[in-house]
């Protein structure tokens, strides 16, 4: 394999693998910027993947097909994701639960509930395969650019670009709009926000529900592009990787984007690497653990301290300090 071919394999794969992580990390960002730790991203992704597959299967059962099915599946996953995140929101905001505990509970609930429902619906522990998936395609025009075109724009998943675009949009929303300013203020100093007439708990609800929406989308994208069906093991650890990307990216949308792409790239390299002649003699285990070791090294070497929003993890109780 020449270098171009390796890049041609690795880069699209990195972007592809990063997409669900980017989306989910962005979700986590909304919640954590508002001051609510979200360890439940994993569970929210499960919910998204579940919803996307169930919706697609149901619509297919009704004889529908084509892009509209996929679009509907994505939209419904977003809705269900944000609805389901209310579990975390109610517990950690209104009921003042420990946010980590409630996130952990959400993860348990998501896996239990989805598989339970799948059993009820289909009388088995995993669904059938969907026939309407998200497929790769060439981006018109851009894919014709020499060198860059084949690497970044040909036979790519649309969802990857949507994810990247969303990261930029979220960056803009967080740092330039009144909503973003208020969201951040609530995560930094809720009492200050309160005295400025910002409804702290409402902002936090919005933050958590957005995290549900985005993580739901992330899970849906994963299911619709990669697995094509749903079972209890469809989402294993991706939510935690997204959380890591969020922290790695220092709670900045573009940072999270970069971190997710970094994970994707390391992952893709480690997989493809086993077939690169130069690396094929390296024991596979070294390539397998490389992405994780690289991440740790990157953190220790360059990234270092990551400081989250100041008021993160604490329920806001009016009048206390």
């Amino acid at each position: 394999m020449d270098i171009m071919q390796i890049l041609g394999l690795v880069i699209p794969a990195a972007i592809f693998a990063a997409a669900p992580l980017i989306l989910t990390a962005l979700g986590g960002l909304f919640s954590e910027r508002a001051g609510v730790v979200n360890i439940g991203l994993e569970g929210l992704m499960v919910m998204g993947a579940f919803t996307a597959i169930i919706t697609t299967l149901t619509l297919e059962g009704m004889g529908m097909g084509g892009p509209v099915v996929i679009l509907l599946a994505l939209v419904i996953s977003i809705l269900i994701g944000s609805l389901f995140s209310l579990f975390h929101a109610v517990a950690s905001i209104t009921f003042r639960a420990d946010q980590i505990v409630s996130g952990v509970a959400l993860n348990f609930l998501a896996v239990g509930l989805t598989v339970f429902i799948v059993r009820l619906l289909y009388n088995k522990g995993q669904t059938d395969y969907i026939s309407n998936r998200i497929y790769r395609m060439d981006v018109p025009l851009l894919s014709d650019i020499p060198f860059i075109g084949p690497l970044f724009f040909s036979s790519a998943y649309m969802t990857s670009y949507v994810a990247i675009l969303l990261a930029v949009i979220v960056y803009f929303v967080i740092f330039y709009t009144p909503f973003g300013l208020r969201l951040r203020s609530v995560g930094e100093h809720p009492m200050a926000a309160d005295t400025m007439g910002i409804n702290v708990n409402r902002m936090r609800y919005i933050g958590v529900m957005l995290s549900g929406a985005f993580a739901g989308l992330g899970g849906a994208v994963f299911a619709l592009t990669v697995t094509g069906n749903f079972s209890g093991t469809t989402i294993v650890g991706q939510g935690f990787m997204a959380l890591a990307a969020l922290i790695f990216g220092k709670w900045n949308p573009l940072g999270a984007l970069g971190a997710a792409l970094f994970f994707g790239l390391a992952q893709a390299l480690s997989i493809t690497g086993q077939q690169i002649p130069l690396l094929s003699d390296v024991p596979p285990v070294f390539l397998l653990i490389a992405p994780y070791v690289l991440t740790i090294l990157a953190l220790a070497g360059f990234v270092g301290r990551a400081e989250g929003p100041k008021a993160i993890g604490k329920p806001y109780i009016k009048g206390s300090r």
Binding site: A91, V101, V104, A105, N107, F108, V115, G232, I247
Partner: protein, 352 residues
């Protein structure tokens, strides 16, 4: 004020009980809605925990690693660290203890402690790395521990595959001298896999309690967890305490792995994924309010429900996932105890 104390105590006990009740109650509604008979389901579940010494034995067996994983999370938590890496620490602890169990041939009095210690050391090493990075470079322990989990999983598999494999995709069985399993306990519980590990787990609880609440080191660890600046001001070495905390936490997790390796299984298989014990450990610790006693009780709840679920599946046909839902709900309600207290206070006020 002192008159109020017993009432306060009552309140603090009744809140988790109410939480458990609510979780079970909603579980019943879910069963009802989905066409199962909750009474049949739950009675099968309860029978699956208590009706037989076998089930009790299995429940205690299940509790053993849960307690240790829970202690690991709780211990780190007390120092202000979230150890998501219990899973990985448990895996390396499992491997190390099994290795010592296989590789040496010593009298049991030496061999067994050595094997457990090997597990503890391996887990401690795995906890040391995130601790060190946190202390020296302020790297967030959550990311590092997540990464260390994967490294542990793949490395352990590779080591087993390269050096320890026997047919059956696992390591050899450990020598009897390093084994925790006990024909006596098995015969007592009708061939459950109950092993002496539960003694280790209870001992670990006492150790955790003792370290944290009775020693100067524990005092330091708690101080650092609550206020790093004040701890530094008071002459404590904050960095060293962070590392130590992760070291001890990882040690507990490693012993949890040793319980699987030396007790339940007597070997280690190639793992096709995480055991889940590490994540259960987070829930157990938080449910148990990061106290030793709490962890034991939460482990009993978890272990019991999980073992009982098997019987619920086999006798009432209710999918075991229901138990996962119930567990999630219980965690939810325990975490939301504020609202339960609030309602109780409301009710009390109206009584007056």
């Amino acid at each position: 004020m002192s008159k109020l104390l017993p009432k306060g105590r009552l309140l603090s006990w009744s809140v988790p009980l109410i939480a458990v009740f609510l979780g079970i109650f909603i579980g019943a509604i879910i069963m009802l809605v989905s066409g199962y008979n909750p009474i049949t389901g739950y009675s099968a579940l309860v029978r699956g925990i208590f009706s037989d010494t076998y089930y009790l034995g299995e429940t205690i067996r299940m509790m053993t690693p849960l307690i240790l994983a829970g202690l690991a999370v709780a211990f780190a938590f007390r120092t202000g660290l979230l150890n998501i890496g219990v899973e990985g620490q448990l895996i390396v602890g499992w491997l190390a203890s099994v290795y010592v169990g296989i590789a040496f041939d010593l009298p049991a009095v030496l061999h067994l402690p050595m094997a457990i210690l090997a597990g503890a050391l391996a887990g401690a090493l795995w906890g040391f790395i995130p601790g060190l990075l946190k202390a020296k470079f302020q790297v967030h322990e959550v990311i590092v521990t997540i990464m260390m989990n994967y490294i542990a999983l793949y490395t352990a598999n590779a080591i087993i595959r390269s050096y320890l494999i026997v047919p059956g995709e696992r390591t050899e069985s450990i020598n009897q001298s390093a084994s925790l399993s006990s024909p006596f306990l098995q015969s007592l519980t009708d061939f459950s896999r109950l092993h002496w590990g539960f003694v280790v787990a209870i001992l670990a609880c006492v150790i955790m309690w003792f370290i944290l609440w009775r020693t100067t080191k524990g005092y330091e660890l708690r101080a650092v967890g609550l206020n790093q600046h004040a701890s530094q001001y008071a002459g404590m070495n904050v960095q060293r305490n962070i590392i130590l905390s992760m070291l001890i936490s990882g040690g507990f997790a490693g012993v949890a792995g040793a319980m699987e390796g030396l007790g339940t299984y007597g070997y280690m298989s190639i793992l096709s994924g995480f055991s889940g014990l590490g994540f259960d450990g987070i829930a157990v610790a938080l449910l148990g309010a990061n106290t030793a006693i709490g962890v034991v009780l939460a482990s009993f709840l978890f272990g019991g429900l999980k073992i009982g679920a098997l019987n619920m599946q086999s006798q009432a046909g209710v999918p075991t996932e229901l138990v996962e839902i119930v567990i999630a709900l219980i965690i939810f309600f325990v975490a939301s105890s504020y609202i339960i207290r609030w309602v109780m206070n409301r009710v009390k006020k109206e009584d007056i």
